[in-house]
Amino acid sequence: MVPLWAYLLVAAGLFCLGAYGVLSRRNAIAVLMGIELMLNAVNINLVAFWRYLSPLNMAGQAFTAFIFVIAAAEAAVGLAIIISVYRSRQSVIVEDVDIMKW
Amino acid sequence: MEDVCSINNLVRCLLDGGMDAGLANFITLLLGVVLVAALPLVTVIFLIWVERKVAARVQDRIGPNRVGPFGLLQSVADALKLLTKEDITPMGADKFIYNLAPIIAFASIVLIWAVIPFTPLHIGADLSIGILYFMAVGSIATVKVMVAGWSSNNKYALLGAFRTIAQLLSYEVPLVLALIVPVMLAGTMSMQAMTVAQQGMWFIFMAPVAAVIFFIANLAEVGRAPFDLLEAESEIIAGYNIEYSGFKFGMFMAGEFMHAFTVCVLMAVIFLGGWSGPFVHEVPLLGFVYLGLKTAFVYIIMLVLRSTVPRVRIDQLMAFNWKFLVPISIVNLLLTAFLLYIVRALGLAPAPNQATDFVANLPQTIVLFVGNLALVGVIVSMIRSQGRRQRLADEARLAESETEEPALPAGVPAGD
């Protein structure tokens, strides 16, 4: 089988790509996509560790399932907020929504 | 059996011929894939003819009758015609995605066939999550619609895509909810094991409500009448594939026909016992015939519905799903879970070694069937009282408005 570190490597790469997207994109929806990438990297890690270290303990699979739930909730609410912000400010650029900054 | 080289023992035959083991395995795999994938392709050519013939008979016409005997070659002629039609890519289209969409549309349907059990021995891949596999592959359909609608750079295509997706997404909910019931009954998600579990009793007798919900939701998923809003010519020209022409359009068309047929096969496998029938274990190929007959039965129902039922409006479509099908499927799921628990607690469930026995399954089936009947009774009485209230309200309003001015009939929407 493919060794564990190969999976971890890909997951780390995906996580960093997602982090880069979150930090650098201007469009709020693109930021949200970056978050999805990061969540998926976590999922890969969870399942890989489950498979290689404790394939009979259900923790890895169960928590992956819960991360699906959280990703769904996050996408639903996050996109709803973006749509709402767009409606009031006609913009989805993250920097334009800085009124809470001060 | 030693001398016969068939698909069942192809690996051994190739090995005897002195071939490398890995290569022999790969060739067998590839051959299996091509066989399984070619089956729907061949069927769809025939299906279009069947569909046109049945529709014609319902409308008191003859249907295709010029090309070949009984017009059998009509579809071939149509395909040849499409092959020589100019393929127009509209200006402003996103070229790569525009070309990708029909490929996804067609391939995603072919992929479903990988998990369909044809006989006790022949199945593409007996996945442990077969049911979720075809749900997952089916959900790619929404992506194809979105991609086709967006890349065409056409308002109507985009609008049609949005409507279609709203429809597909909505009807996926009762579809999946209905599928939980057979999973619960069979205790497996593998398609082959599900067929085996039905050898004693078909699931349509144990869960008729789930079967009907599955059928209706599938009608909407494949966009068949009365849910064919996605090609409502009078409203949104032709839906998401309006800009497509030539064989790319043909791919969408063939994909739709194939999808309609595929859901009939799935219906036959999940609720009508698939290949199971008399003598099927002695002659496995009989299973193929049984499956074909059951599928044809479901398909004919679908065709007759198509030619006889009028199209619904989109607000009715959505209301029917969210306010009728989804609540019913949730109640049905709860009811089935409850009844199954009761059956098990009372010891009416068949013993594991008798699970495929008809008589041993009878008590359980009777309990579940009566429960389903009761549910249907409740639903019908609720619809009746609702309808009566609606009618009285309408009559009252009509009587009131007659004194003032002639009004529109009740319930006409203001469009969207």
């Binding site: - | 393929d87 391939a107 750079n153 997706i165 989109i314 969210w322 949730i330």
Partner: protein, 120 residues
């Protein structure tokens, strides 16, 4: 591993399936005439000139349907393992599944009462 063999079939299927639609499309490219002109390639709107952007403003109702679907989809999918193991569960697990479905029904009732399911 026998289980992975089944998935190898699926993998090969994924690799092969797209060939079937691509072949006739390529064949059509060879056989079909190709004489594009601006009028032919213009956006088809029953002959009327296109006005404005393709990006018309869509109703938020589409998003609401997608949202409700997403929530239901995730919940139902989590129910599948429960249904699969149903024959081996005790009363407590049975009740846990019931509570889960009740919460699901709750969400539907809320959306219904709120009018989020109406096609306006």
């Amino acid at each position: 591993m026998a289980v992975l063999n089944e998935w190898a079939f699926i993998g090969v299927f994924f690799a092969v399936a797209w060939v079937f639609p691509v072949l006739p499309i390529l064949g059509a490219r060879i056989l079909a005439p190709h004489k594009p002109n601006p009028l032919k390639q213009s956006t088809y709107e029953c002959g009327v000139e296109t006005v404005g952007d393709t990006w018309v403003q869509f109703k938020v109702q589409y998003y609401i349907y997608g949202l409700v679907f997403l929530v239901f989809d995730v919940e139902i999918v989590l129910l599948f393992p429960w249904a699969l193991a149903y024959n081996q569960l005790d009363l407590f697990a049975f009740g846990a599944g019931f509570l889960f479905i009740f919460l699901l029904a709750d969400a539907l009732i809320y959306a219904w009462r709120k009018g989020a399911l109406e096609w306006l």
